[in-house]
């Protein structure tokens, strides 16, 4: 086995892959061969580093140099300068958006300083397609410990003591869930990993499966041991081809090593895992819907109870946890519940992974201890708001969550605090919005999403959300009335109160929270017919400032609908009834004579 002196880690997460990290890897290898360093340098495609904003990321070890936005054409320089001569390529270093300082070592980056990586411990560190690298990081040791030293009851107790709660949204205590499933008697039980991450703008689970698939496999096996199941299923979105591929490789390797299959580690424990593909239905994140989908049916939820832990897949007791929850398990077993439950807040232990996105400098995947404040996440880790704009709101919990204002920036993040603030933890999407975002339009955006994703089974969700959307649409197109706001609230509350599943029970949250926190914006839309952020097209008005118009006729000639009239060398005029607000006149005018109101 060669011991390489230098390891070059390239991010192979979907974000970076989309930005050509495969090609980059090829180039780097080529140049390394060219200069004869192939015995000294190992190039590894790893899982996501989290710093997606500046992908592709290349990390050179052992000196921890962190290159951002690397293109294949940069490979030559990295190899010839850095690897050969030890000279850091300055121009590829990350530049702090606030201080404009270049930072060479990733540990020096604010982005990483406040993070604590438990679920993401191996992401961006090991080659996910190599089981040996996982094993070298204590991989499968937790499973070994459980199988040889702990009874299923002991293991469940450990998970219960750790205080781990489900990371998929609801925050149900994981140990308790396992215990209930263990106590349900049946000839066959199932362990299901929910990897149907559907929140738009969330990619935590995908990154874990891409970067550290074995941690999920190991945890599912532990769960199987605890509840008495010999069969596991991973329900994964078909839209995640890379994660599926990596998971398949990992499953094959685990089988090859005897870590899946019959008589694991000679203990008589049998366990194996199958993959089931989702097919593009957000509602299948709900566990009963997910189970129906795995059974080849329409992914419609059913009323609980019975809970899957009693009657789930094929009517058998089924334990469903999401990817991030599972990823925490081996660490808890290895390091102990008492280590884990020291992290976090009173009722929310451990860390949480967030997909940070939107109008923020450092878009990416982060993991912080529970109790970290939103401000730390947005300003310290996220690097603040893009282009120096003002923070307006942060949306957590995806379409089920709410939009929080700057008043909540110092709220420590945990399950209860977010709920109290009118949002929720959800699976971990965190979208930051700035002054340019219209909160009514955001609410409308989420409702539109819900509208497409509602399964249609229960009336309040099927029809109620449609009506909510229609009212919001009316408001954003300037036809709203003040009483519409009250109707939104009334209807939202009924939908929450009567819907069949979690999707409908939370779908009005974006509406309610934006009304609660940004009522002024709603009022501006309905009363003044104005969109303060200038986002709602129908409420925009293009007008010609007479004093500045030279009558050059450029706008007149470019208007696609003939809404502009005027004589040459005379001020022109826009007929508002014809204007479609395309903005062409605004772009074309050379004299800044067109104003937007």
């Amino acid at each position: 086995m060669t011991d390489y002196k230098i390891h070059v880690l390239i991010c192979g997460g979907t974000g970076c892959k989309s930005a050509d990290s495969d090609e980059l890897k090829k180039s780097l290898k080529q140049w390394i061969d060219e200069v004869g360093l192939e015995d000294d340098v190992q190039v590894v495609l790893t899982g996501c580093f989290g710093f997606c904003e500046k992908g592709p990321i290349v990390k050179v070890l052992p000196d921890n140099t962190f290159y951002v936005s690397v293109t294949p054409s940069d490979a030559e320089e990295i190899v010839k300068e850095h690897l050969l001569k030890g000279r850091v390529v300055q121009r590829l270093l990350y530049r702090d958006p606030n201080t404009h300082q270049q930072i060479s070592d990733s540990k020096g980056m604010d982005f990483y300083k406040k993070q604590m990586r438990i679920a993401l411990r191996n992401c961006g560190f090991i080659n996910p397609e190599n089981i040996q690298e996982y094993i070298s990081r204590d991989g499968y040791m937790a499973l070994g410990k459980c199988l040889t030293e702990l009874t299923p009851e002991d293991t469940i107790q450990e998970i219960k003591d750790s205080g781990l709660r489900g990371r998929g949204g609801g925050g149900f205590p994981t140990g308790l869930k396992w215990e209930i499933t263990r106590k349900s008697e049946a000839d066959q039980k199932y362990v299901v990993c929910n990897a149907d991450e559907g929140d738009p703008g969330a990619f935590m689970d995908r990154s874990i499966l891409e970067g550290d698939p074995h941690s999920v496999i190991e945890a599912m096996s532990i769960c199987g041991y605890c509840i008495g199941a010999s069969k596991g299923l991973v329900y994964i979105r078909a839209e995640y081809p890379l994660a599926i591929e990596r998971l398949k490789i990992a499953l094959d390797q685990a089988r090859e090593y005897g870590l899946l299959g019959e008589d694991i580690l000679g203990t008589g424990f049998d366990f194996d895992i199958d993959i089931r593909l989702g097919a593009g239905a957000f509602v299948c994140g709900e566990e009963t819907a997910l189970i129906h989908s795995m059974e080849g049916k329409r992914g419609e939820p059913t009323f609980k109870p019975p809970f899957p832990s009693v009657s789930g897949f094929l009517g058998k007791p089924t334990n469903v946890n999401n990817v991030e929850t599972f990823a925490n398990i081996p660490v808890i077993i290895n390091k102990g519940a008492s280590w884990f439950n020291k992290i976090g807040t009173e009722n929310s232990k451990g860390t949480k992974v967030f997909a940070l996105a939107g109008k923020i400098n450092n878009v990416g995947l982060i993991e912080v201890p529970m109790g970290t404040t939103l401000r730390e996440v947005i300003y310290d880790i996220g690097g603040g708001i893009k282009d120096g704009k003002e923070f307006k709101s942060v949306q957590t919990g995806g379409p089920s969550g709410g939009c929080l204002t700057k008043n909540f920036l110092d709220t420590p993040i945990d399950y209860d605090n977010l709920l109290k603030a009118g949002s929720m933890m959800g699976s971990g999407g965190m979208i930051v919005m700035d002054e340019d975002d219209c909160m009514v339009a955001i609410a409308r955006f989420y409702l539109e999403f819900i509208l497409e994703e509602s399964c249609g089974k229960c009336s309040p969700c099927r029809i109620g959300n449609k009506r909510l959307f229609e009212i919001l649409d009316k408001i954003t197109s300037g036809k709203g009335e003040e009483k519409d706001i009250e109707r939104l609230i009334l209807l939202s509350n009924v939908i929450k109160d009567t819907s069949l599943c979690g999707l409908g029970q939370t779908s009005p949250n974006p509406v309610l929270s934006t009304i609660l926190n940004f009522r002024d914006e709603y009022l501006a839309h309905v009363n003044e017919k104005k969109c303060p952020s200038g986002q709602c097209k129908s409420l925009l008005k293009y007008e010609i400032i007479e004093d500045l118009c030279t009558g050059c006729t450029l706008c007149f000639r470019n208007c696609p609908v003939g809404a502009i009239t005027g004589e040459r060398r005379q001020p022109h005029y826009i007929d508002q009834s014809l204007c479609i607000k395309c903005g062409v006149c605004y772009e074309k005018c050379k004299f800044n004579a067109i104003k937007l109101t």
């Binding site: 989309s18 930005a19 738009p200 593009g280 080849g296 329409r298 992914g299 939107g358 878009v363």
Partner: protein, 169 residues
């Protein structure tokens, strides 16, 4: 609905896929995935064969096909264009990019251009939020797309210089 008769070879492909999944009704979604992957789409006649092979009703198959956005009953264009409409892309202007594609291609979402070259679809988060707004053509990802770039991207594919790439992807 006008019926088209499936070629013997196509029927065999479908039957083989079903057999691979033990002709089990519970594997319907896996079967649909695999068949769509092989044939490109799932027209009525294909669903009928699948229903028969899995010993279930064609109504059920259709119910499943229409439930999941991943399944399509119409063929995609030579270059399927997908606009990511995840929240991250939305707040970074995906809607404007989408309307520019609609304007340039003169199609609505879910439609194909009359020459069959392009089809336009929306999809949920592809996970490349750092590159938002994101557009996928075939398997190729275009990041940080501005509406002004749309025309050029389409032109590139029209001229066929990228066709090789998209096909192989």
């Amino acid at each position: 609905m006008p019926k088209i008769k499936l070629a013997e070879s196509t029927v065999k492909i479908i039957k083989d896929v079903c057999a691979r999944f033990n002709n089990s009704e519970g594997e319907l979604i896996n079967v649909l995935h695999t068949v769509q992957h092989k044939l490109g789409y799932l027209p009525a006649e294909v669903q009928e064969v699948i229903a028969k092979e899995l010993n279930t009703s064609v109504a059920k198959v259709y119910g499943v096909v229409t439930f999941y956005s991943y399944f399509s009953m119409i063929p995609k264009g030579e270059f399927p264009i997908s606009i990511c409409m995840g929240t991250a892309c939305y707040v970074r202007g995906a809607e404007q990019v989408l309307s520019e594609f609609k304007r340039q291609l003169k199609v609505e979402v879910g439609e194909s251009t009359s020459d069959g070259k392009f089809s336009l679809n929306c999809l949920r988060c592809v996970g490349a939020c750092g590159l938002a707004p994101v557009v996928m053509i075939g398997e190729k990802v275009f990041g940080r797309v501005a509406p002004t770039q749309v025309k050029q991207i389409i032109a590139e594919y029209r001229e066929g210089c990228s066709s090789e790439k998209a096909k192989s992807a």
